[in-house]
Symmetry: C2
Subunit: 317 residues, 2 copies
């Protein structure tokens, strides 16, 4: 067994949940996707405890590249890089007094990125994660995560549905959550040098710990459970939408932005690389085919419509 | 005129030199490349003094994408980002006492990146730059630059020639230069998460200021003048080398590493983005077509041979 075991019962429930969610999503995708494009990779961390299960679709009928990964790792803070990264996290929790030299950690999460072939189906990303740090009798924990959508062409009804699917589970727990998480998502997924947001947003939260563990576990489970309802309608509606060579050029050009965000700004990528994470799993999020051209020109009104909503985030529900 | 004017005579000579070098290289490329693939873009910095001339080849017969850019900018240190970036540079020169609030700067350079179509012709990069900072009566200056080679398949004789073309001009000025700059190049162009160097190296130097301005101008000019001799033999030898679909896959997969280096590590890219540089010029260095696959497998002995020399730098002269 490559997955590290949690320190607490909530950690165990979270691990069981993401394992089930991963299987449910893969089963759903396999109901319409080529079996040959699917690849399941169970890996362990060399020299450390834990590992993960990466489920990959590549060059299927729907997905150019998609990854549904879970991982579960634990250990002590052996190297300076790891300590520095975790001290930054702890400062976000106002927990600067923990002594990492004697502490142990546990981290688990599910991470999904889907890059479809058809430019009329958006890229989507979803990630829910849970951290624990044990220092003697003190157990620190927090939840993070979210989901967001990166379209290449706008289907406003389905984008609204995507946001509604995330708003409903948030609203059930706290009416302040969705507006707060939606704004955090727009703020986080932003490329300053392009003056563009990564897409049409979704929800983003991190360092959640001021309520109970069960409360946030409920949040993460409800949001995770809404994924298929939020995303499958795009596949259903657009899997047969005709597209041109120019549409593919536009798709691949826009996917350059995805790479720029993930390599220049994404915290998860930075965290992974700086703690000697598994490169294949970290870069699973990168699209398969990408182009960068000099001075790409806007070709159509549809492209201009997309740029309008990603330069100036709007309300979708 | 979009190019900013230097503060010193050496600055003027450097600007004239890189202007001529840019024209010489473009003329040489245009002798064999499709005229239709060439595009010259003269640009100015919005709200600031200076600009540049970008010469781009895209989807030609030899180059998938190549850029030969010069730029020349000047100004005062108006924003905190700029000050922070330049203070970092000054600390490298042990010049921490300069007051940037009253100072003006001038920076000029030539930057070239060529990504050919044929996988048997390597990608190459060349950059020579000159900085001046004037604070009252004090003029600080330094030179930086280098050239390096990123092959996809090894042609050892031509790689040796590339290195020799850089070693000869260095040796004429100081026998310690080439070994020192070669090692700096191997150290700088390194991707820790891949445990790979970007290619087979070349030379790299920065913050050169302990000898005279004329000495380093001589170095930069001699190295710049050797560019065509170092690189054209690859084009001549391999422009008609047959390649397969798998070779192109390998090329595009390896070009992902180029993007990873430039977005995760390259100082020039970071400096450009953090000082609100011109995005199109900064990202001119990115290849046109790139792929990321999950767990790419080595296909041939030729691939393995490449990996051997980029994981463990060797002597080429």
């Amino acid at each position: 067994m490559s997955l590290a075991q949690p320190l607490s019962d909530v950690g165990k429930t979270m691990l069981t949940y993401i394992n089930t969610l991963q299987m449910d999503i893969c089963d759903s995708f396999l109901s319409f996707e080529n079996k040959d494009s699917f690849y399941k990779d169970i890996w362990e961390r060399p020299h450390h405890t834990g590992g993960g299960i990466s489920c990959i679709f590549e060059d299927g009928s729907i997905f150019e590249k998609a990854g549904i990964n879970i991982s579960s790792i634990s250990g002590s803070f052996s190297c300076d890089n790891e300590k520095t990264m975790f001290l930054k996290l702890l400062s976000q929790l106002n927990q600067d007094t923990i002594n990492l030299n004697d502490a142990t950690y546990f981290a688990t999460g599910i991470s999904l990125v889907c890059h479809p072939i058809n430019p009329f189906i958006p890229t989507t990303h979803m990630n829910y994660r849970y951290f624990e740090i044990q220092d003697k009798d003190t157990l620190l924990w927090w939840f993070g995560g979210g989901a967001d959508l990166t379209p290449y062409f706008l289907d406003e009804d389905l984008i609204s549905n995507f946001h509604t699917c995330l708003k409903l589970p948030c609203d059930k727990l706290d009416l302040s959550y969705y507006p707060q998480f939606k704004e955090a998502c727009d703020t986080y997924f932003y490329l300053p040098h392009r003056n563009e947001h990564r897409g049409v947003g979704g929800i983003f939260f991190d360092y959640l710990h001021s309520n109970t563990q069960d409360h946030y576990l409920d949040l993460v489970k409800s949001c995770g459970n809404s994924f298929l309802d939020s995303y499958l309608p795009f596949i259903e509606a657009h899997k047969n939408t005709a597209f041109t060579h120019d549409d593919i050029q536009w798709l691949q050009y826009r996917r350059g932005r995805y790479v720029e965000f993930n390599l220049l700004h994404d915290r998860g990528t930075k965290f992974g690389l700086q703690t000697n994470g598994r490169v294949e799993s970290i870069f699973m999020s990168l699209p398969k085919r990408v182009i960068w051209t000099y001075n790409e020109k806007l070709l159509t009104n549809q492209h201009a419509n997309l740029l309008k909503v990603i330069t100036s985030p709007q309300s979708w529900v």
